[in-house]
Every structure is written in C-alpha cells, then in structure tokens.
C-alpha cells in the first residue's frame, strides 16, 4: 500500500437508515486504511430491485446519473459502494450501456448523455485488492481470536461472474481472508451465496422466514458464534427479523449478525461509536465478551 487511494463513494439509501452502522463502519475502516472516500455529489437512489423489475432503461438511467456525478470527483480511481444491490445495479447498467441502442434510449432519459463510465467495485473488493489481508495483519490492535464466524456474502455480490468480475461465484473468500487476517475463524459456511429472501420481507414475510430461517439453522449447525455479512438487506433479514423467523419456524436462534466492516474496525481498534455495534438488533455483547472484546 503506497499513499492514499481515492474513490468516489456511493453510500446507497439504506446507509442513511436501516444500515447506518454499515456506512459509518465502512467510512471508519477505509479512513484507517488510507482509502479516501469522496461522496458522489448529490447522489440519487439507484432504484434497487424495484427499478429493474419495472424497466431496464429506467433502472440504468438512475444508476447512470450517479456514474456521471461520480466523474466530478477528481483523482478518483473509480466508484465503490458497500451495498451489493447498488453494486449490481451500477455494474449491470454500465455493462448494458455498451449496447448503442440501449445507451441511446437511456441517454434520452438523462439531463445530459453519459460520456465516461468509471470502473465500479464493492468496498470489499477495494479493501481486498488495494489493502489485502497481509497488509491488515500488522495493523491489528485487538485480534479476534476464538470468534467463530459464518461468512455470508448473499446472492449478488459475486453473481453473475461475467458482470461482477470479482472473487468466486460459488465460494467467495475475500471476506473470509480479511477476517482471518484479524484473527477470527471463518467457518466453511455452505450457504454463502444463497438468497435470504431479499426484499420480500414486506410483501411476503413467509418467504423471508423460510429462506433466512434456513441460513440461521445452517449457521447454528456449523457452530457459528455470529454471522458476518456484506449486504444491508441480508443483515436486516437475519438480524432485525430474527424474532419473526424464530416465531414462524419454532426455533430459538440468538445469533448476532455483524457487518464485516464492524469486525475489521474492532480489530483495528477504531472508535466503537463509528462501528455502531449498539445498532444491531441481536446484541453481540456476550459473543464479543467471550473473546475478550468489550462492546
């Protein structure tokens, strides 16, 4: 790692609400590791899943406005975002813009046509490639020795591989390696890329109870102390809805669901306030106390 690396940062809407601790912990970890994040000026919602289920041109226009705004960030290597759903929309739209007919229709929806398409990555990819597990090791202030984690990537962080172009689409390992570098144990979690039920918690709660329920059962069967995720929606389904899931499935899980940035931040000795551990619905206090971390 040499000097500061600058990226245009796309926080995503949930970072201002239900996943505020993902946003604040991401900013803290990046700052500590010399990655400078400059928020995309006046960024807008990428439309998440709802937009692409209605129309691909509309979805691409919402994403492309952000890509165009990102061009105003001087000296940036590209755009990074913590949220896999935002990532998927930005990358898929960028790819579709290579088709001239598609681009022409999308450009008609924009104030001005998109000229330059910057590279887009997840924050996870940036941390893995620009910093990497080896450089992390000597920075560790508190090793998370003994913490057994079920690393859960969710369905779209790495799929489809021809669009996402990072890590392995069936067995991703980037998050595992970073967590191992700070002393935690990444268990071989078999459902790493299975769907949690996505945004159906509102319209079809039964679907989330079934799919996220299966994930909780599997993590418990692996002997995990906690989940670790990189996706706001996965985190919300597993953590916030854990009581609903337990009630529906007659289970009694109490498994904390961390963002990987919160754990990296703890290991780097960052301000606990920025890491937002108190924002988790299932308290991680006991699990952390067991490995000698006060939270």
């Amino acid at each position: 790692m040499t000097g500061k690396i600058r990226y245009a940062y796309y926080p995503g809407c949930s970072g201002q609400g239900t996943s505020v601790e993902y946003d604040t912990s991401t900013r803290a970890v990046c700052a500590a590791l010399d990655i400078e994040l400059v928020d995309i000026p006046d960024w807008n919602c990428c439309g998440s899943s709802p937009a692409h289920t209605v129309d691909h041109h509309l979805s691409a226009a919402l994403s492309c406005r952000n890509l165009a705004q990102a061009a105003q960030v001087e000296g940036a290597r590209g755009v990074i975002t913590p949220c896999p759903s935002c990532l998927s929309n930005l990358k898929t739209s960028a790819r579709r813009m290579a088709d001239p007919d598609f681009a022409a229709r999308v450009n008609k929806l924009l104030d001005k046509p998109l000229r330059h398409i910057p590279p887009v990555k997840s924050v996870l990819q940036a941390l893995f490639e620009d910093v990497g597990p080896d450089a992390l090791y000597p920075r560790v202030f508190k090793r998370l020795e003994g913490l057994k984690l079920a690393p859960y990537y969710g369905c779209i962080m790495n799929r489809p591989p021809q669009i996402m172009e990072f890590d392995d689409h069936e067995h991703p390992v980037a998050m595992d390696r970073l967590l191992e570098a700070v002393g935690a144990t990444a268990l071989p979690f078999p459902l790493k890329v299975e769907c949690c039920g996505a945004s159906y918690g509102v319209a079809r709660q039964d679907i989330v109870e079934r799919l996220s329920g299966r994930l909780l059962d599997a993590a418990a069967a692996c002997g995990a102390d906690a989940f670790v995720t990189a996706c706001p929606l996965c985190q919300m389904n597993l953590d916030l809805r854990q009581d609903q899931i337990n009630a529906a499935n007659k289970t009694g899980h109490r498994i904390p669901v961390f963002y990987y940035t919160q754990l990296l931040g703890l290991a780097l000795g960052l301000d606990p306030k920025a890491l937002g551990l108190d924002k988790l619905a299932v308290s991680p206090r006991d699990v952390l106390a067991a490995v000698g971390v006060r939270a």
């Binding site: 609400g17 239900t18 807008n44 937009a51 041109h57 929806l109 799929r159 890329v193 996505a198 319209a203």
Partner: protein
Amino acid sequence: MNVIRLSESQDEGFKSHVRKESGQDLARCYQCGNCTAGCPFTFAYDIPVSQIMRLVQAGQKEQVLTCRSIWLCASCQSCTTRCPNKIDVAHVMDTLRHMARREGHDTEFAVKAFVDSFLESVEKNGRAFEMGLMVRYALKTGRFWTGADLAPKLVPRGKLSPVPHKVKNPGAIAAIFERYRQECGK
C-alpha cells in the same frame, strides 16, 4: 400441472418478443433443470423457472404472464450463473415481469404494491425513504401493521428516519421518471 395444448395456444409473436427484449436465445434451453435446482424460490413458485423457459419456447403467453413466479423472482442470479447454455435466465424473468406489468397483470398484488411504493418514494425524494415507503405501501394494500413489530427495534436505534433524506435537486430525478413515462412507458 395443467394439460396444455401447445398447438392451440402457441403465440409466435410472444416468443420473438421475449427473445428480442431480453436478448436471450431461448431455443438454446434444453431443459436440463439446473436453473430450477438452484432457484431458492421454487417452493413459492406456481411454475418452476425451467418450466417457464419451456412455456416461453412454446409461446404460451397467457400462462406465463399471469403466473406468480415472475413476480416472486428475487433476481438472485443463481439460474443465470449456472445455466450450461449461458442463457441469462434472470434477465428473461425480468423481461417477463416487464411485459406482465405493461399488460396490466398483478398476480402478486402485494409485491407490485411494494415495488410501486418504492419507486414513488424515489421519484419524489430522489432517494428511498423507508418510512414514507411503508406508509404508501399500507395505503395501497390496506395492510397497516406490516412490519409494525419491527419499529420498536428500529426507532430507538435511530434507524427509521421520520423525514426523507432528499437529494439536493429532486426535480432532476423526477424528470428522469417523467421522460421515462414519455419515452419507454408506452
């Protein structure tokens, strides 16, 4: 499973329309069933995804556009990633949902109401506003208590803002939606 008389209800226009709009060569699907095997939503579907592919090949427009599955697909990309014939199956599912919407179907009404509420919120504020979206959803569906049990976990943690975080220039986003309705929404 219903008996379908393929020759009677075959709609050639539908087949070519799906091919053109999705950019996928559906004839390549040889019904291996890989997509269905990996689809986490099969338990909730009325027609498994590989059968949807077969029905599109057979031009069964009505059956496909009125099914529940196309509304429930979460775009998890498992099917696209694992199809041995490199068909972007999730793109086909998206395309079918677009077509169903344009033709006025809403087989999973609550799902459609959620999508509409979300986009209305984005059109108005430029960003998704979780509280406002839930209010819109409740008004559309009459389901006033959906997620109400989650509020006590969200509010004290400062995760549910009562006011929207707007973009500085929400008009710029509303204009995208307006042009979309004029250009594409027809």
